[in-house]
């Protein structure tokens, strides 16, 4: 049964280019939160030998030399474009598994195998035209093969038109191709397994495919045996369809500069709780407890290190920002230790369930719930209309010294009416 893996090319960079023609053809890199390291690179940047995860401070010289344009990550924009890409792809198959922000599997069972490469081209063209994001398509009989085919499509190892269908290769051509790909490119084969396999002289995908499953089971684990089976076209990993609601919501960030005072930490925790509560309400869920955590910077070895978290159960499950913040701050107070350089804080909403399925408690005030709902509705509406954080609760502060460094962030082209693309 053929499966396609559709993967967006240099996704974050492609999103940025979609709204900024000045980035076309230039070396562009998108940096992680706090502008730490490279998380998405244009082909021009890859050609300069800059690796994924390379810290920005180490890139600064080469950047100046080659005129690399660095951007802070704009997850609001990437999230919206990802949803559009996935919805567009959903039209191409009755079964879709969204695997990450920029890739998904499509079940192509039932299609004429001879026309699949053509169908892959159609997918590519449609996503590029309708949403504006370039994608590559890999087609194989299992998820592992589809992933590998996608790698080949991206690297142009089998044709150069962005689609690779292993079904089109005869067994000799396939062996040749697999012999040219290092085993580390296989889905699920990490660095450690690669090293272990190298000792057994298994270096290419072809070597791994021909290895004895029995032997591998003894040396490694059943997981690797599944991988080998999948490489031989025997499906072992099923397509999982989305639809299971989120079990927890986490919002955490590293600070732009370290924070010691309880005030500053409280503001950050209140702010992250606000964000988490917004997500919670968007999902139509309520949370039963909230976990708060703080930690120092483990890379500052001279500093005293501290890392602590606490779970605060709620009397009644809620989606009310004010109640969640109140509980989060109680938790923070009980784990806070003064005179330390804190580098990160965060909150985790747990025990999520659907709103309306909540159990009433003895201490409920029946008038309270509609009041709280109305307040949150007004809060969300105002922030949607006037921009994020137009209306916040007092506890999250006004200066936000701890806020993320995102000095090079692009506009929120699709989510803020005041930041739209401008055409002259």
């Amino acid at each position: 049964m053929p499966i396609a893996l559709v993967d967006c090319n240099n996704f974050y960079v492609s999103c940025e280019r979609m709204f900024n023609p000045k980035l076309e053809g230039k070396p562009v890199v998108v940096l992680s939160n706090n502008d730490g390291c490279a998380v998405s690179r244009s082909n021009e940047v890859k050609a300069l030998g800059i690796k994924m995860g390379e810290p920005w401070f180490r890139m600064k010289d080469i950047s100046k030399q080659h005129g690399i344009i660095a951007l802070s990550s704009n997850y609001t924009l990437y999230g919206d474009l990802s949803a559009r890409v996935m919805a567009t792809l959903a039209n191409f198959s009755p079964q879709q598994e969204i695997y990450s922000i920029d890739e998904c599997f499509l079940d192509l069972g039932g299609f004429d195998p001879k026309t699949l490469a053509e169908y892959g081209q159609k997918i590519r063209k449609t996503v590029k035209r309708n949403v504006g994001i370039p994608v590559c398509v890999g087609i194989g009989d299992t998820k592992t093969l589809a992933k590998l085919a996608n790698h080949c499509a991206k690297k142009g190892l089998s044709g150069s038109d962005g689609v690779c269908d292993f079904g089109q290769l005869n067994s000799q051509r396939r062996s040749e191709l697999f012999s040219s790909i290092p085993v580390g490119e296989v889905w699920g084969v990490g660095r450690k397994i690669t090293e272990g396999l190298a000792k057994l002289n298994i270096k290419t995908v072809e070597d791994l495919r021909r290895a004895s499953p029995e032997y591998l089971r003894q040396q490694f684990s059943i997981v690797l045996v599944k991988t080998v089976n999948e490489l031989n076209g025997i499906p072992c990993i099923e397509l999982e369809e989305a639809g299971t609601p989120r079990q927890q919501i986490m919002v955490s960030r590293s600070f732009g500069s370290s924070v010691s005072a309880l005030d500053g930490l409280s503001e950050s925790v209140a702010h992250y709780t606000t964000r988490a509560a917004e997500k919670l309400r968007r999902d139509g869920s309520i949370a039963a407890s909230i976990c708060v955590f703080i930690r120092t910077n483990p890379f500052r070895e001279k500093d005293e290190q501290y890392s602590r978290s606490i779970v605060v159960p709620l009397l009644q499950s809620t989606d009310d920002t004010t109640k969640l913040v109140k509980s989060a701050l109680i938790g923070l107070k009980s784990i806070y230790k003064p005179a330390l350089n804190y580098a990160k804080s965060g909150v985790l909403l747990m025990g999520l369930h659907e709103k309306g399925s909540a159990q009433r408690t003895l201490f409920d005030d029946p008038a309270e719930q509609p009041r709280s709902d109305k307040l949150m509705y007004v809060l969300d509406s105002i922030n949607q209309k006037m921009g994020k954080d137009s209306l916040t609760i007092g506890a999250s502060g006004t200066k936000q010294r701890w806020a993320m460094r995102r000095e090079l962030k692009s506009q929120n082209y699709t989510s803020d009416i005041n930041e739209l693309l401008e055409a002259w």
């Binding site: 023609p21 949803a83 559009r84 035209r129 949403v131 739209l420 055409a423």
Partner: protein, 139 residues
Amino acid sequence: MYPALGAQPIYLPLFGHKVPAGFPSPADDHMEALISLDEELIHHKNSTFFVRARGNSMTGAGIHEGDLLVVDKSIEPVSGDIVIAFIDGGVTVKRLMKQGSIIKLKPENPRHKEIVFHEGQDLEIWGVVISSTTIHKKI
């Protein structure tokens, strides 16, 4: 003197919301979904983007400075469409004119020059403008 009807007190469930009383609205049966501008103006949700018009090059087509443009990327642009185009690093809104192999971006204002696309220039037709909204009174 009449005894109170039924000596037992009547317990009513305590609801947090008001219990509606009175004659039911005769319009209830005729309720239909209201008009949605989103549905009227957006035909392909995943391919539609909003763009802000700047300058006065398209006033003849009724597009003014600050107007909100609804742009659909999924539509194949044909000659005569108003389009958003990326050309040489800039973003522009113009009328697309195709005559044989000649591609022009035509302004709708005599004081602006048309852009004739030459080989070697970067041109991308980004999307087709479906509608534009002018705000006549700020509230």
